[in-house]
Amino acid sequence: MINLATNAQNTWCTGCGNFAILSAIKSVLQSMAEDGFPLENVVLVSGIGCHAKIVDYINVNSFYSLHGRVVPVAEAIKLSRSNVRVIGFSGDGDSYGEGMEHLIFAAKRNIDITMIIHNNRVYGLTTGQYTPTSPLGFKGRSTPFGSKELPINPLEVMLAGGATFLARGTSHGLELLKKIFKEAILHKGFSLVDVLQVCVTFDNLYEYYDKRIYEPPAHDPSDRTAAAAMIREWDYDNDSKIPLGIIYKKDAGTFDERFKPQEKAVDRDAKIREYLERRI
């Protein structure tokens, strides 16, 4: 066993759904190491929000970025070091709000990174406001009379955007999270896992989710039409059943593999002189 703990004190609330994500990712990193993957070749990136503290709690390379800016940092690390596996952690306010543009472009590029979204549907660190995935009428501190807008369905946006791996889990389902995380990380291309992670302090949905979640037994993730139907079954607003599991998976070329590796042997001084000769 590799010790993945740091000296940082954990400051999540008791019962926070983030513990399940931390536990699952540590277990996946352990198993990757056991399979022979060197953990120095992993870089974790996080945004700002309760989710983001996760990088302080794992003794692996990390980039604790800005709110909404997990994706561009993660993309650059992959483009710079093709042998590195980049795992981004982000919140729903973080990536579905402030950073949605980056997320859509990462999906469009099918860049080989993994995004794990701690989707608790409420702002925790800023003490309880509605987010892009809060239901219509959500009473938060910025919407005391109820939010006046419908939530977005992030998985639907990602499917349309060109993501090649989409999944959903919950913080009450550790084994499923482990399975999904590992497959998402090993997937070549852009992968996103929407984790219905519960904020016990500002929006305790454990019971709500426990009553509705299920894993469709015969779902085929290579079937885009079936994936779209599974995504649309729950729109983050209605009280329907909520399907979990790997929703969509497709093999496709990636942005990062289209860059030529840098040739260190190029004689730049000679090339600069050649260029200047062309400008006479």
């Binding site: 740091t6 120095e40 990390s62 940092v73 190029v266």
Partner: protein
């Protein structure tokens, strides 16, 4: 002929810009030193576009208002430039589109009926300017072989028809006022953008990232075109926010990285700029200024972002800010910025503008001090076996773990600011303040950035001194004071409305006596500035 200025003007979209470049290479081939100013509106078709090519025996990097030749592709090229025309000016015009009789107050006007030539050569409309370039070359007595060589070098499409059309123009006219060749070494002619790009490549640039924005786009285009040749990554992502954050991701992996933008894009980059300061991640930002506020005049020039560059980003952190004056200076400071950023692990900002980014300058690489890519001492970057590398936008301890401890906060803030002190010491090895012109003059022109060359031209004819700080942060106060030794009268010259450099030096206790400000989006011409400085001297 000691010097000559040529204006070519026509409708935007009619290849005026390219023609300006061709004319620049033609006179450059005659042994002259060349500077070319380009003026174009922020539209794709229509409007009036022109270039002024100034050629002289001496090194120059500024233009004159008055011109010796006007190559007129449309009526505006004559009508809008009446103030530039002298009686001795020669106007060569497209007689199908320009009426000159009674309108052109010059002795020599040469009209060419271009339409007929194009028809006979089955040439497209876009070649009207090629025909006029041919006619100009004939009038100026330029050897045909030079014209043909430049056309073949600069035009890739339909080159044979272009040559025939130019030759027809050339043969239609008689030599009137020969531009005699001079016996100078012919130097390459490049834009300030190309110079900056070459400087970055020289200092080991690995990746350049930018979202298109005038006047920084030509740098993006140059590096993108040369990416494979120099083996450098060039990326154009979804926004300037992504540009800056990607840059920091590359920087985290140990790459040499630069980004480019203008004021509006830089606004979006400031959160990332501050992160660079917090997380010790080197990055160089090219900030191409243009008149603001807001969208302002996108295709024109200004020096309005000095305060912004010095103060952008929340919190207090070290930064290196330079303002090169011409192409050679841009090459040098681009390379130095990349090295300084890498060594001190701080952001650098290269302040430039449209005058430099899009102006054409002679470039003598042998005149520039040699720079080698910096190899930072004992840095490790991921992936590195046995090392966990953490960077953090929060205040953090030396392992990169978030902290809110008061003593740790002070320690880390002091550590970051200490860089400014070490950087200031390091910079004593550099020429941080340029001192030109007549050294013992008690009147000095104070300027920065692209105003350097025009101020030097004026200073040399009025026997004045020119002082221009190349480094603006950390401010080189000692070198600046030394440069002003013996000076009793300081006249500051800036392309902004509030005198940003004047305010800056004033904050260090240095009083500027007189001020010349221009903020109409156009750079000073030599004759214009000379008049303004003279009136200050006699005031």
């Amino acid at each position: 002929m000691a010097e000559v200025s040529i204006l070519i003007g026509g409708k935007a979209g009619f290849g005026i810009d390219k023609s300006g470049t061709i004319l620049s290479f033609i006179v450059n081939s005659l042994g002259y030193n060349v500077y070319t100013y380009r003026d174009y509106p922020s539209i794709i078709r229509g409007g009036h576009t022109f270039s002024i090519i100034r050629a002289a025996r001496e090194r120059i990097s500024s233009h004159r208002s008055a011109v010796d030749y006007i190559l007129a592709l449309n009526q505006d090229a004559v009508a809008l430039h009446k103030d530039r025309i002298k009686e001795s000016s020669v106007i060569i015009y497209d007689a199908d589109n320009v009426k000159c009789d009674g309108v052109c107050p010059v002795k020599n006007a040469v009209g060419i009926f271009v339409s007929g030539i194009l028809k006979e050569e089955a040439a497209p409309e876009i070649m009207r300017n090629t025909c006029i370039i041919g006619a100009f070359s004939g009038v100026a007595g330029i050897e045909w072989s030079i014209v043909e060589r430049v056309l073949r070098k600069e035009i890739s499409r339909d080159i044979e028809i272009n040559i025939r059309v130019a030759r027809r123009g050339y043969d239609k006219v008689k030599a009137l006022t020969a531009i005699a060749p001079v016996n100078n070494r012919t130097l390459p002619l490049i834009t300030g953008s190309e110079a900056m790009g070459l400087g970055f490549l020289k200092a080991g640039l690995d990746t350049y990232i930018a979202y298109p924005m005038t006047p920084a786009s030509p740098l993006l285009h140059f590096l993108a075109a040369e990416a494979e040749n120099f083996s450098v990554k060039v990326i154009h992502p979804e926004s300037e926010i992504a540009v800056m954050l990607m840059a920091l991701g590359f920087s985290y992996c140990g790459e040499s990285v630069a980004v480019g933008t203008s004021g509006g894009g830089f606004c979006l980059m400031t959160e990332g700029l501050s992160l660079s300061g917090m997380a010790d991640l080197p990055v160089v930002i090219v900030l191409g200024q243009r008149p603001g506020p807001s969208t302002g005049l996108p295709t024109y020039t200004s020096q309005t972002e000095l305060n912004f560059a010095l103060n952008a980003g929340q919190g207090e952190f070290a930064r290196f800010v330079t303002a090169p004056t011409d192409a050679e200076d841009s090459y040098y400071w681009a390379a130095v910025s990349l090295n300084i950023s890498k060594r001190f692990r701080i952001p650098s900002i290269l302040l430039t503008d449209k005058t430099i980014c899009e102006g054409l300058f002679n470039f003598d690489i042998d005149s520039i001090k040699e720079i080698r890519p910096e190899t930072p001492p004992a840095s490790v970057f991921p992936p590195n076996k046995g090392t966990v590398i953490k960077v953090n936008s929060y205040e953090h301890d030396e392992y990169g773990i978030t902290t809110e401890d008061p003593a740790e906060t002070v320690r880390m803030q002091d550590k970051r600011l200490l860089k400014m002190k070490s950087l200031a010491e390091e910079l004593e090895k550099y020429e941080t303040v340029k001192c030109r012109g007549k050294n013992n003059s008690d009147t000095a022109i104070l300027c920065w950035g692209s105003n350097g060359p025009v101020c030097e031209d004026v200073a040399s004819s009025l026997n004045l001194k020119v002082v221009s700080p190349a480094v603006l942060s950390p401010f080189p106060l000692n070198a600046f004071k030394a440069a002003l030794k013996g000076v009793k009268n300081i006249i500051s010259v800036e392309n902004n409305a509030t005198g940003q450099l004047r305010s800056l030096v004033n904050s260090y206790g240095i009083k500027v006596d007189q001020e010349i400000l221009k903020y109409d989006g156009r750079p000073f011409s030599v004759d214009e500035l000379e008049g303004l400085v003279k009136s200050k001297l006699s005031a």
